[in-house]
Each structure stands twice: as C-alpha cells, then as structure tokens.
C-alpha cells in the first residue's frame, strides 16, 4: 500500500512527461505534415538532339575537331564525372571532311570524339567548310575563314595584393594585324589538381576586344584572375587568339552570362552557332600560348 502511495507522484510525473512528449510529438507531426509536397513542373519540352562541333587548329597545321551531341538540361553539371559525361556524349561513328582551297581533306577518328588531319593546307583568308555525317545523330556543316596568327607583342604577370586577396595580374600588348580583327585573351592558373578536377567548366578568365580603337596600331591592357589566390612560383597559361566576328560575338555573350548567379537569373538566350543544323563553333585559328611563372 505504502509503496503504492509513494508511487503516485512519480506516476504523475511520468504521465506529465508522457503527455508532454505526446504533445510535442503531435505538434511535430502536425507541423511536419503541414509542409506541403513540392509541385512538379509538367510540359517541359524535350531537347532535340544535335551534333555539337568544337575545333582547334594546332600549330604545325593539324586540325582537330571534337564532335559530341547535346544532352538534357539535368543530365550533367559541374559536379559530373567528366569522363563518364564524355563517354555519354561523344560521337564516334561520323564521317568528317574539310573542303577548301579546291581540296577535300578527310579527318580520321582519333578517339574520345576527336577527329583529326595533319595534311590540311590552310591558307589565311580562305574559307573552309566542315562536313559531318553521323548515322546515329545526323548531318551538319559549318564554314569558317582562316585567321592570321597574332602573337603577343609583350606579356607578363605579377603577384598583386588587392587589399583582400593575393591575385595574379597580367599585362599584355597586342600589335594589330591588317584588317578588322577580333581578339580573345585567356588566362588560367595552372594547378595539376585544378585541371584534373575542373575539366567541366574550367575557371578561365577571358577578355574580349576588337581593334576598333587601335586598328593597325597596338594596345596594352591588364587584368586580374579573380577569385583565385596565387603565390610566387605558381604557373599561369596565357593565350591570345585572333578569332572571327561570329565566334567573338558568341564569346562576348558567354562572358556576360556564364558565371554563377548571373547564369541562374539571367534572361534566357540560345547562343549563336555557325554550325548549320547543329551547335557549337567551327574555328580555324592558332592561339599564341605562353606559360608564365609568377615572380614576387
């Protein structure tokens, strides 16, 4: 008996605790039940798959063309495995040739979606046409004009302290080639791990300029590689390319919209292409590549 009376307060406490716990659980369940399920967005149109062209003229007159196919919006991101993505999108079954200057040059498949030829006779100022036929994806063609090679008249880089960050600052001079020209200057902090990790959307600083203000003369400018701390001894790759106006316009649009939040909230745009029936760009230009080690 006595022990029974003694237990009453303890039972009350237990009941109170149980009630409090029950109330808390009920409240939690009510609150969690009140978080509505997200709503699906329906009717998103499917992408029409197209052939994507990228090209590169390698010093020594070798031409390399990368052929891939477009993919769904949600099929890849910065975090995707680059090799798995490339395996998914590369085109390995295409017949590819370049016609120009009265000749036709077939390109050989080299693997990883790359087609190449070493015997293309490229004449500055001449127009060349790329023909691609993939049984799996379709056919496209693209025209471009060979641009003259322009090298840096001078280029250098230093370490600079901006007040918050230690950054690389590049100073360059360009002597303009004859005629109207459009230039692209790229700089990248070369780190083995970053190159391996950032194959998708690598962090490249790009400056676009045309020669309207210095036609036939020279221009000197400088810029910093932002958001990337450097130290003396680090290596930079700096490139100058003389490109055609179509590719210049494309890159200008890309530079305005490609980064982070700006890309997410910018107005939609479908970028121009010089590939008829496809996407990407067919270019024939040779970049001037400089590797610079940063001093103090």
């Amino acid at each position: 008996m006595g022990s029974g009376f003694k237990n009453i307060p303890r039972k009350r406490d237990q009941l109170a605790k149980g009630a409090a716990l029950g109330l808390a659980l009920a409240l939690l369940m009510t609150v969690s039940a009140c978080i509505p399920d997200p709503l699906d967005v329906r009717g998103v149109p499917e992408l029409e798959q197209k052939i994507v062209v990228s090209s590169q003229l390698i010093p020594g007159q070798a031409v390399a063309v990368l052929l891939t196919k477009s993919i769904g919006a949600l099929d890849a991101s910065d975090d995707s495995d680059p090799q798995a993505l490339l395996d998914q999108i590369l085109i390995a079954d295409a017949s590819v040739r370049i016609d120009g200057n009265g000749q036709s040059y077939p390109l050989t498949y080299l693997g990883e979606g790359v087609y190449g030829a070493t015997d293309v006779d490229l004449v500055i100022g001449q127009q060349y046409t790329l023909y691609v036929n993939s049984p799996g994806v379709g056919s496209v063609q693209a025209k471009t004009t060979v641009k003259p090679f322009v090298s840096f008249a001078d280029v250098d880089a230093i370490v600079t302290f901006s007040g918050r960050d230690t950054l690389a600052q590049i100073t360059y001079t360009i002597d303009d080639a004859v005629g109207s020209n459009w230039y692209m200057v790229n700089a990248q902090h070369v780190k083995r791990e970053s190159i391996e990790e950032r194959i998708l959307n690598p962090r490249v600083t790009t400056k676009m300029l045309n020669d309207l203000s210095f036609e036939g003369g020279s221009t000197t400018d400088d810029f910093k590689i932002l958001f990337d701390e450097v130290k003396p001894g680090d290596t930079l790759a700096v490139m100058l390319s003389n490109i055609d106006k179509d590719y210049y316009d494309f890159m200008k649009l890309r530079e305005d919209t490609r980064f982070g939040l700006a890309a997410a909230i910018g107005e939609p745009i479908n970028y121009p292409t010089n590939v008829e029936g496809g996407l990407g760009f067919f270019n024939l230009y040779v970049p001037d590549v400089r590797i610079i080690t940063l001093d103090e």
Binding site: A76, R164, D165, Q188, I265, P268, N270
Partner: protein, 481 residues
C-alpha cells in the same frame, strides 16, 4: 539547406468626422517578406549566404466633403514605397542588388452624382512624383573588380493628369458615360503627353438585364519589366526616359448583366480585348540584376490580351457569396525576341477563379469558405546543354539550351480556406470580432522558386516548385470604435 522565411503585414485606419459633411481618413499599411539561406557544400558552416528581402508601405490622408446639392470633393495625399533586394556573401565578397520605388501623390476630385436628367459629373487632377532606383548594385571584395557598383541611384519622373467624366441618360433605356483624361510625364529633357478617352454605353434590355459596350485608352509611365527565366517576385519597375517611351493600351469590352431578384442574385459575363504598345522587356541574355548599364538592355514591343470574365453574386440573405471565373490569354511581341513572333506573356494565366461563400447560422455567428484557383505563370526553362572546348583548351564548357520563351507553364496554385466568425453584440460601442479558421486546408504548396529533384518513378531529374506554407490554422481579432 535551411530556408528561414517570414513575413508580416501591419495596417490601420483612423476615420474622423469633424462635421456631418466632412470625413477625414488616415491610413497606414506596411509589410515585409524575408528569405535567407546558406549554401554550405562542405557542411562546415562556411558557404554562400543569399537572401531576398522585399517590403512595402504606404500612408494616405483623405478628406471627403459634401457641399449639399449633391456636390462633393474628395482630396487625398499619399505616399507609397516598395523595395526589394537580393544580397549574397561569399568569402570576403559581398554583393547587394536592389530596386526601389517611392511615390508621392496628391489627387483632387469634385463631382455631383445628381444633376438634372439623371446625369452626373466628376472632374479632377492628380500629380505623382516617382523616385525610382530600378537596379542598384553595390559590391565589395574581389567581386567589385568584376562588377563595379552602380554610379547612379535614383530616377525621377513626375506624372500629371487631369480628367473629366460625364454620365447621362439620353433615352430611358440608355446610359452613356463619356470622359477624357489627359496625362503627361515631365522629364528633364522630354515631356510625354497622352489623351486618354473613354466611352461606355449601357442599354437596359428590361428591368432585370442590360448590355454594356465600352472603349478606353490608358497610358502608363511606369513599366513593369518581368523576367522569363525565374519565378521569384523580382519584377523591376522602370520609368519613362528620353529613350523609353510610355506604354499605351486600348481596350474594348462588351458585357451582359442580369439580376435575379427572387434569389438576390446577379450574374454578369464580359468579353474584352486589349492591345498594348511600347511594353518594355529584356533583350535575350540580359544579366538582370548585376548590370550597371541596365537601360541599354531594355527593348520595347507590343502586347495583346483578351478573355472572358464571369461573375455570379448573391448579395443578401443568410447565405451570400460569389463565384467568379476569368478565362484569358496574354501575348507579347518584340522584334528581337523569338524571331519577332508572338509568345506567351509571363503572366499569361489561363484560368483564374474563386468561390467565396458565407453562411450566417446565428445572429452573431457566421461560417465562411474561400477557394481560389489560378493557372501557373510562364517561364523559360533550360531543356538541354552541350559541351564545347573551353577557350583555354583545358576542358569543356557546358552551354545551356533554352526552351522557346515562356513556353512552359508553372504549376497551378489553388487553396481552400475556411473559418468561423463570432462578433460582438450590435449595440456595443466598441465592436469586435474573432475569426478562427484554417488557411490552405488541404495543404497544397503555394509555389515559390524552383528546384531540381529526382523522379523516383523514372530515375530522371525533374523540375519542381517547393511551397513555403501549407495548412496553417489562424486566429484573428479585430476591434472597431
């Protein structure tokens, strides 16, 4: 990811009758919405903080006076302010983009509703002083080298208008309302002027039904500019400038209305067509907020909207309420967008309706129910991407491919609210009421923002719209003295 979100509204009104012919009103409204989140990829509490904040408030003073012989005046002085900002902090970098608009206005109107031969007249004038900062960017840290802070802040436009409207009954079954409003925007170098005529003719078919035809022209000196890319409430208001012209719209309508006295009920249906000129939109690829040369990205084009509106209303009795439904289309056309072809406006919401019912089941008790439905707005999703070699040749860049502009409809929004009201005895000096109910009774998401989620049925990723509030019980208490 945590999503702390809150909002509040505060409003109040004081009404004072110094004489039996004068009525003074002072009112205030204020509200704020805040959303902040931290994107912390490494889980170390250090990441990118992004926030959205919007707030508006308004104050007005109104003086209404009756002079006898049915003449009256209505004068008001008001101020409104609206602002939103998006701020982001990552590392030592800070970025703030905001847009705000402040209006100061004065309006004076005189009228007489009982002139000879069942006619009436109203006339008045209004001046509004707009101060806008449509898109101000402030940056600090390394990002300031990439994106300079805006050098200019405010834009000022003064809008004036005068109007006269006369309503008469030229024949027993015909009533005509004709008026004209002249409006102007005065800038430092330019003045825009627009006459805005309006005409409405009502014909009584019998003592219960009528038809009405109307035409009106409207000019607007503040443009609402909407993005096609996102679904957050970040529209920007932009004033006319030397190069941005006013928006002008012409609207025609025809309506049929019928009263059913035995049920205290009214039914109406109206069809309308509206043509708009010099609407403002963005060029393709415009960087919306982080853009210090904003005006150069604005373009002007045309719009059209048409539709039908239905209304069934029961105004008296224990059981009252209404059902309204609008079926509408809204289109835009800009020379440099969508190859110059017409496309859906962002706010092209096909169906919009509500059912509002109230039942007074006792002298001091009433139950009510509101069900609202609105079709989703339009947006332009990324539907694909492709890889091209990066300019440095050390990798590949992923380039997005967009759907045709505004071609996809966001999820529809609908919800059911219901409640019970208990009020004080009618004889009491201080009147009060308690309203208890449930908001969003079936816990449907009210869409905000966009996210990408895994579709477990297909294994594919898909777009989803999360909602901030689901079922929400509420209690409100109001007093009037």
């Amino acid at each position: 990811m945590e999503v702390p979100y809150y909002f509040y509204d505060l409003n109040g009104k004081l009404i004072f009758n110094p004489t039996k012919n004068d009525k003074l009103e002072l009112s205030h409204y204020g509200g704020d919405d805040r959303l902040d989140y931290l994107r912390d990829r490494n889980g170390d509490g250090i990441g990118q903080t992004t926030g959205y904040h919007s707030g508006n408030n308004s104050q007005s003073f109104r003086w209404n006076r009756n002079y006898g012989n049915s003449w009256y005046h209505d004068a008001s002085l008001y101020r409104t302010a609206y602002r939103y900002d998006i701020h982001s902090t990552f590392g030592t970098n800070q970025l703030l983009a905001f847009s705000d608009i402040r209006d100061l206005g004065i309006k004076f109107q005189v009228g007489n509703d009982s002139l000879r031969n069942n006619s009436s007249i109203q006339m008045g004038a209004e001046v509004i002083h707009h101060t806008l900062s449509p898109n101000v960017v402030n940056t600090s840290g390394t990002i300031a080298e990439l994106l300079k802070s805006s050098s200019s802040r405010g834009r000022i436009a003064t809008e004036t208008a005068a109007f006269i409207q006369y309503e008469l009954q030229p024949a027993p079954k015909v009533r005509v309302s004709a008026g004209i409003r002249g409006s102007a925007a005065i800038l430092s170098n330019t003045t825009y002027f627009n006459p805005e005529p309006r005409l409405a003719v009502r014909y009584m078919i019998d003592d219960k039904s009528s038809i009405k035809a109307s035409y009106s022209r409207m000019a607007q000196y503040l443009h609402r500019v909407s993005s096609s890319a996102i679904s957050s409430p970040t529209d920007i208001w932009y004033p006319v400038t030397d190069s941005i012209k006013p928006q002008v719209a012409d609207q025609v309508g025809i309506a049929y209305q019928r009263h059913i006295p035995s049920y205290n009920t009214m039914f109406s249906v109206e069809a309308y067509y509206k043509k708009m000129h010099q609407l403002v939109g963005y060029e393709e690829g415009t960087n919306l907020f982080f853009n210090t040369d904003f005006e150069s990205s604005l373009i002007q084009g045309d719009g059209k909207a048409y539709g039908f509106e239905f209304l069934l209303r029961k105004q008296a009795g224990k059981f009252s309420g209404w059902i309204n439904y609008t079926l509408s289309w809204s289109w835009r056309q800009y020379a440099s967008i969508n190859n110059g072809e017409w496309f859906h406006a962002r706010y092209d919401r096909r169906h919009n309706g509500a059912v509002v019912l109230q039942y007074a089941f006792a002298r001091r008790w009433a139950a009510s129910m509101v069900w609202e439905y609105i079709s989703g707005a339009r947006f332009t999703p990324v539907i694909g991407q492709y890889a091209i070699t990066s300019p440095s040749l050390t990798g590949v860049d992923l380039v997005p491919v967009y759907a045709p502009i505004n071609s996809v409809k966001l999820a529809d929004a609908h919800r059911l609210d219901f409640g019970v009201k208990f009020k004080s005895r009618p004889a009491q000096v201080m009147q009060w009421q308690i309203f208890v109910g449930v908001y969003n009774a079936y816990n449907r998401a009210n869409p905000v923002g966009m996210l990408v989620a895994l579709d477990e049925a297909t294994g594919q990723l898909k777009y989803q719209q999360p909602g901030l509030f689901g079922l929400l019980p509420f209690v409100s208490y109001g007093i009037r003295f």
